[in-house]
Amino acid sequence: MTTLHEEKIKLLEEKANLIRQSVIEMLIEAKSGHSAGPLGMADVFALFYFHILKHDPKNPAWSERDRLILSNGHICPVLYAAMAHAGYFPVEELNTLRKFGSRLQGHPHREWLPMVETSSGPLGSGLSQAVGMALADRMDNGKATQKFFYCFMGDGELDCGQVWEATMLAGKEKLHNIIGVIDRNNIQIDGFTEDIMPLEPLKEKFESFGWHVLEVDGHNFEALSDAIGQAQAVFEKPSMIIAHTIPGKGVEFMERRFEWHGIVPGQGPEDKVKKAEQGAVALNELRTLCGRIKSEHE
């Protein structure tokens, strides 16, 4: 992976911001869904869809593409937004999220939207599917394969036993072209992960299962990109990138608060912003980068 130039970083920042705006717009329109996770992962999605992935939005079925498996399907607003901005489908379609007849189901359904790699929602199954895909690819192409299988997971879903079944299998099979990305935002529905079911020491857990593990700031494009480059270069084991993210990132009144996990603007706690104003304030914050840009929006 080549080092990111300043211009590229600027482009990625712009894309991430657009993705965040779309996420908020979609959720306001849908009136239900998840806010914190999608905002927290917007930078990771921007980096993948506009820099990392070997893919062709105009030919989503291209057999040589990298596979991106979203295991924690509930953060799909950020997946849909990234895909729309990357050119998979019109950005306007994002407003159909969670509506009757929409391809953008509340949790991704591969049959409705074949350009997603799998259906997901029930947690803990994505890594197994990535392992299955990588095993099939190895049967066909051996270790010289050029494809990568990326699996995005939430930290909360690491509570699921199935994740560890898949982690063991990938370690045993030394599937070097599997790269997992954990959204380490420390929250889940009922509270902080370390209160609900402690995950630490997380890095050591995966290492002991035979994985190469990198920890990185999930909002730092350079650091993330470097980590992925390192992971791609590891040939003898699968890699896990623990991306430390801020849930709700980009909208100040949502940041770091587990209350915003499964609700949308207009439903959140009112200690900072009144319900009726949450949508407008969130969009304004994103459009003005938290007030740093004094623009026509004010």
Binding site: H109, E117, T118, P122, M139, A166
Partner: protein, 326 residues
């Protein structure tokens, strides 16, 4: 009848475990199509997956005791164009991994085949924990799933080969014990097609619809009843889903009273599937032979079949009872 085992009524009728047919079918399917791959959760010997894995070690994934992951790994393999066959005991797959089968296989419409071995109380001494008597119900309720319950090893081989050739998720139910070989290589088999396996010499008063190894008990019951002047025909349903509606309705129409026979909970199983068809098209009195809302226990297979009311005498009693309800 011509195509069934000519020694069917002999005391020393040949016996083979139904699961053997799965192993043989999987091996042959694997030779015919290199997209076929197999997965197993630490039970390669008893599920007969070893027949395949020895021949094609590179097309086999040893999961360890991880049935949930096995279902999803199979979904991933299928997403890349493989045709995965996964096997474990029915209690664990589709028992333990039902949600993974629903979401990552059926909801995705993945081309994955699931073999559930050691189904029914005839697992025997292992006891109730290992006796899956709910698997037909929980698989047939999932949209897109095809559910096949072969009656012997030969039919199991044909079912495995047919599953390999059709696109979409399939569940094949297998049993542990050696059971009578009912069919021959020449017996026709097609997914979704029921067949009459026994026709009495006079007009039937009762139609018996059976699946699995109990098809043998049903045939013996009908045969013995004939000597008593009671006439019953026996249909091997074979595929529980999609059920052969035409054949089931025709049988009910022609005869007017039915008995269903399955080594499974009566709730949600084959009897339910038959009743669901008939109440809409041809309301017919039915007696259900099967497990009635209890768990199994340790014992010899035949002992348990008798204890839970699925022996030849129970089928005969059910036939007599339903005649009174015509």
């Amino acid at each position: 009848m011509d195509t069934l085992n000519p020694k069917l009524f002999d005391k020393d009728v040949e016996q083979l475990p139904i699961r053997k047919g799965y192993g043989d079918g999987l091996l042959q399917a694997g030779k015919e199509d290199e997209r076929i791959v197999a997965l197993c959760a630490d039970l390669t010997g008893s599920t007969m997956t070893s027949v395949f894995s020895k021949e094609f070690p590179k097309r086999f994934v040893q999961m360890g005791i991880g049935e949930q992951s096995m279902a999803s790994v199979a979904s991933g393999l299928a997403a890349m164009g493989k045709i995965p066959f996964l096997a474990s005991y029915a209690m664990f797959s589709p028992g333990r991994n039902w949600e993974q089968i629903r979401t990552t296989i059926c909801y995705n419409n993945s081309n994955v085949k699931i073999a559930g071995a050691h189904a029914g109380v005839s697992v025997g001494p292992d006891g109730g924990t290992h006796q899956a008597v709910e698997d037909i119900a929980i698989t047939r309720v999932i949209p897109r799933m095809t559910v096949i319950v072969p009656c012997d090893a030969i039919e199991a081989k044909k079912a495995t080969l047919a599953a390999a050739k059709m696109t979409g998720p399939v569940y094949i139910r297998l049993a542990r014990e050696a059971t009578p070989v009912i069919t021959t290589e020449a017996t026709p088999f097609a997914i979704g097609k029921a067949q009459l396996f026994f026709t009495p010499r006079e007009k039937a008063q009762v139609g018996i619809i059976a699946v699995g190894a109990l098809v043998y008990n049903a045939i013996i019951a009908a045969h013995e009843l004939e000597a008593e002047g009671i006439y019953a025909s026996v249909m091997n349903l074979g595929t529980v889903k999609p059920i052969d509606e035409e054949a089931v309705i025709a049988l009910a129409q022609e005869i007017g009273a039915l008995v269903t026979v399955e080594e499974h909970q009566v709730a949600g199983g084959v009897g339910s599937a038959v009743a669901e068809v008939l109440v809409r098209h041809q309301p017919t009195p039915i007696e259900f032979v099967g497990v009635h809302d209890v768990f199994g226990q340790s014992g010899e297979p035949n002992e348990l079949i008798e204890h839970y009311g699925m022996g030849v005498s129970h089928i005969k009693d059910a036939v007599k009872k339903v005649i009174g309800r015509r």
